[in-house]
Symmetry: C2
Subunit: 607 residues, 2 copies
């Protein structure tokens, strides 16, 4: 290892700046350190194969350790986590960064005033005989506020009185004056709402006065470099030296990049963003705050906190108005976070007062049941399978992903972007498995039937590769990778595990309220929104619900974070939701294992 | 100016580290930037002559500007504010840094429990069925606290539970848990109390459990480099680019040096200091917080704030426990600061309920009168004269200062440190003027009598130097400087201005309560403690009080800051004092000018 320790430059195709890499850093470590995101679901262990980069110029080599040999992909492609530069290198990165943005003008419903407001003040200065302080003057002209005692705002007050003695604008957060500005700035009042998903981070810029979302921007969660699911990230935080701080830092940087993009798109100054609401699962909020998530995965699986007081942007280095407030919405339990709280908040109150089930499927699956009076919730580690990890040819729902599969006498596929297929996305996988079940290619236990029992067009697609069978959706000659794109026996097992855990969770919730039988089912979350509901019913992801009662409700967590910004009453309701929900720990239910095993099989095609 | 701009090193005799100085920085600017204090009462204008340094090796030169020529002192001595290094330079600095420290074990009176306390917690962890959070667990075992919602403390809680699952220690500030530590640390509970004087900064380390001051340390206020009095410092903050931030920074650095020394002397870890109380005049608290003090000197002379909420040490970079609280005690008015609030707090409640006058004489003079029911206060810009500026041969009360003067048929002086005299300190000056009055050398108007009318031994000491008369206390042949040490006619005028303003202020206070005639008079403050009371009465500094009712009460402001740390009840009383005091703005009193002029003369020697 000692011969090549020096500083090398990593040039990246399409970027002007280079990144420095010392000879004892892997390419992955250097790229992350340089703020560039690469998926690495296994946390850099060299096992997931996701962090491929193409070396266009220069040399890389594996370290001396046996397991760390460079793994050449097609052509000059390497796993960035396994190779070290031997000099300056030019890289091509995969197009993995998802970023959607745009100006949106939808006006949101009015649920009462926001916790944020601005008031124009006309100062009434003291005389030499009354000699009250500027602080007391503000209280006189803004009597519904608490006396301004925060030193940062006092500093602003001193400067604003100098710059604009006749007109000031106060920004209030509840009854507290959090900012004082020179002149009348009452029209510039914005908030940011974030949904920090395990996989995707979404930010929305909200005009509080106009009740409008003015920009949306999303980015892949850069913590993916430490693992695809929350368990891997918790392990990285606990076991890797500096792993907690590093994950805290990359998500903070990500939020700042999103804030910058939101401001660029909308032309809004970051100084006019006075509050941010943040929804995310409990692991995300622990990591964001740099609070060890170790207790989440250690019996009795307790979070360190559910609720944290609003705090200063500077405390986590967030680039909004310095005197603003960061509000982490309250978590419900270790594995039911504030994203669920926000999702419940976003659902219409009328709907909540009728029997209803919310199924939020992202990287994790959270289920909340309302029997009209009380809320019950449970969670399962649903999701990485949906997002492509643990699935051999799995990939995100981006260009090249098979998103629709129909099997009759032959197989028809649809590919996102109308290009050659490169893999299968989560919703495509569910549909593929449902079609395999309906076509009788796999039986109720999930095993492939014999090829000889199938029509020839289908039977010839069943192949044995390595030590397992697979069903080929697209042959190598037709694919972008040159290799077959298939559903393997192991992939089907993964889908069975996920769908069974979701179904079993919902059954436990239903047991809490035997008196009700008819439920509205709302599907939310990155996966819940795109799933083909018929296919989900076919594979038995849900108990025996009627198709017409099930609907997708969009990114409910993100919507809830926006609602909390816009309505003080809804923001307060968050705490009530988090306190009132009765949480069921599935692992603590004696009958869980049996029910779970019972739900692994496919219910059959006749519904 | 352009020929010598480079980086030079300033080596300082007796120090191992050097300071860098660019060729366009004066020595004074470079020394301040390097954290070294030099007195510069005029703020670097080259007029006060206080910032002398001796150049042992190397060359310095004045800048091109006409008024900035090097002013050679004796030998190779220069004004640091007027010269620029021409290469590396070795300097000898004056011994101006005052630092007293020691271990003190006096046990302070018990006025009820402190706002700070520590409680040992025995965790009761959740089960998989109860699944409450660690935050809720703490509330269960520490029921008298608010739910812990501060992210910094939650971070500590996560780490402490990992390190010491069976025993934790919580530190409470009022009902708020501000720190959680592993194990039982209940014996390590300290606070720091500061009195930030315009001239001297005093810090005391207090053992809260034992009610003991365990160390004291003081340092000259490094803001003196920006001017001797608050007016000069406010001007520097308003007019100099970066002057506010620079003065804020140097006082913060000073507080940190004091904290380090307190911890070094006592062996206490800075992490075990959980709160700091800070008393100081309004200008000091504005500058410390980086809040513009411009309004203090602009009609109607309003402070930006009187009261500021307790805040985090990190906010001003103070090196105590990160989760601790900084409490700036409340100010009363623009020129009656929290040092007066603290001084009133330190005075025994029984005393306050009888007619009493507190006269706090430091760089400013503040007077508070209690008529047994109500408090009245006023202030005067008393003091720089007491501390040596505006007095030709004035100096601090350090080695070489004439501290006592007796005039009978000849003059007898006492010099601090029993060395050759180098100047006169404030209390020596008051005594000298009183003796000159008693001996008839100056008349009631303050003018020197004719030498011919005096006994020869005294008459020969009256000399005309330049365009004014002076009375020589020590001749050049006997002095450390080689020049005469004298009381000049201008010096006497300075003393007259100061004593008249104090006397007039007290008279205005007395007018508020004509029903009472007998008062206890408490003298406090850096100067109030050392003044010779008989001399002060002789020159008419106080109205016609009886000698036996006047006494010195020590550093009342510092004592008050300690009391506020030790007693929550006394800390709360501070806000009541600040709100209840009726402030008299002397400048707004129509009869002030007349009374002030009437009090300029000396009352005569027969009392």
């Amino acid at each position: 290892m000692s011969e090549t320790i020096g500083i090398h430059r990593l040039m990246i195709e399409g970027r002007e700046q280079y990144i420095e890499c010392s000879g004892n850093q892997t390419l992955l470590q250097a790229l992350i350190h340089g703020g560039i995101f690469l998926e690495a679901n296994c946390g850099g262990r060299g096992t997931c194969g996701k962090c491929k980069v193409q070396v266009l110029e220069g040399q890389v080599a594996g370290a001396g350790r046996a397991e760390a040999k460079p793994k050449p992909g097609t052509n000059d492609t390497y796993l960035a986590c396994q190779v070290y530069p031997q000099g300056d290198v030019v890289l091509r990165l995969p197009q993995s960064k998802v970023s959607a943005k745009g100006s949106i003008t939808e006006i949101l419903p009015d649920d009462g005033p926001s916790i944020l407001r601005k008031i124009v003040l006309t100062p009434e200065y003291p005389t030499v005989n009354t000699h009250y302080s500027m602080q007391e003057m503000v209280k006189r002209v803004c009597p519904n506020s608490n006396v301004l005692k925060e030193k940062g705002v006092l500093r602003q007050l001193a400067a604003a009185v100098d710059a604009s003695p006749d007109c000031l604008t106060a920004t209030l957060f509840d009854d507290e004056i959090i900012a004082v500005e020179a002149g009348n700035t009452v029209n510039a009042l914005f908030g940011a709402a974030f949904d920090i998903g395990t996989t995707t981070v979404v930010g929305m810029l909200v005009d509080i006065n106009e009740r409008k979302i003015v920009a949306v921007c999303s980015e892949t969660n850069p913590q993916a470099a430490y693992g695809a699911d929350v368990i891997s990230r918790i392990q990285a935080a606990v076991d890797m030296p500096g792993g907690l701080e590093a994950q805290s830092q990359v998500i903070r940087q990500c939020l700042n990049r999103i804030i910058n993009e939101l401001c660029n798109v909308s032309g809004v100054s970051p100084d006019h963003i006075y509050a941010a609401t943040i929804a995310g699962n409990s692991t995300m909020s622990h990591l964001l705050l740099g609070i060890s998530p170790a207790a989440l995965v250690r019996k009795p699986y307790a979070p360190v906190f559910k609720d944290v007081a609003p705090f200063c942007p500077e405390d986590i280095g967030l680039g909004i108005n310095k005197c603003g407030k960061i509000i982490i919405l309250p978590n419900i339990a270790s594995f039911i976070g504030s994203d669920t709280t926000a999702a419940v908040l976003a659902i219409d109150q009328n709907l909540l007062s009728t029997p209803m089930i919310l199924v939020d499927l992202g990287t994790n699956g959270e289920m909340v049941l309302s029997d009209g009076n009380k809320l019950y919730a449970c969670s399962t580690a649903a999701g990485p399978a949906f997002e492509g990890s643990h699935i051999r040819d799995g990939m995100r729902a981006t260009a090249g992903a098979i998103s629709h599969v129909t099997i009759t006498d032959d197989v028809r596929i649809e590919v996102i972007g109308n290009v050659k297929p490169a893999g299968i996305c989560g919703s495509g996988m569910v549909m593929a498995v449902a079609e395999l079940v309906k076509a009788g290619i796999i039986g109720p236990t999930g095993r492939f039937n014999k090829a000889s029992a199938l029509p020839p067009n289908l039977g010839q697609r069943l192949k044995q590769a390595g030590n397992q069978w697979e069903f080929v959706l697209a042959e190598g000659k037709d694919s972008a990778t040159g290799a077959d794109i298939s559903v393997t026996q192991a992939d089907i097992r993964q889908i069975q595990l996920v769908k069974s855990s979701i179904c079993t969770g919902i059954q436990f919730l239903l047991e809490q309220t035997r008196s009700v039988s008819q439920f509205d089912v709302c599907l939310a979350g990155a996966f819940g929104n795109y799933i083909d509901i018929d296919s989900a019913l076919t594979i038995g992801m849900f108990p025996d619900f009627s198709r017409e009662n099930i609907r997708s409700v969009g990114n409910a967590a993100g919507a809830g974070a926006v609602h909390a910004l816009l309505s003080a009453e809804k923001l307060r309701r968050c705490s009530r939701i988090a306190n009132d929900v009765e949480y069921l720990e599935l692992a603590a239910q004696p009958s869980f294992q049996n029910k779970f095993l019972g739900n692994l099989s496919f219910p059959g095609v006749i519904r």
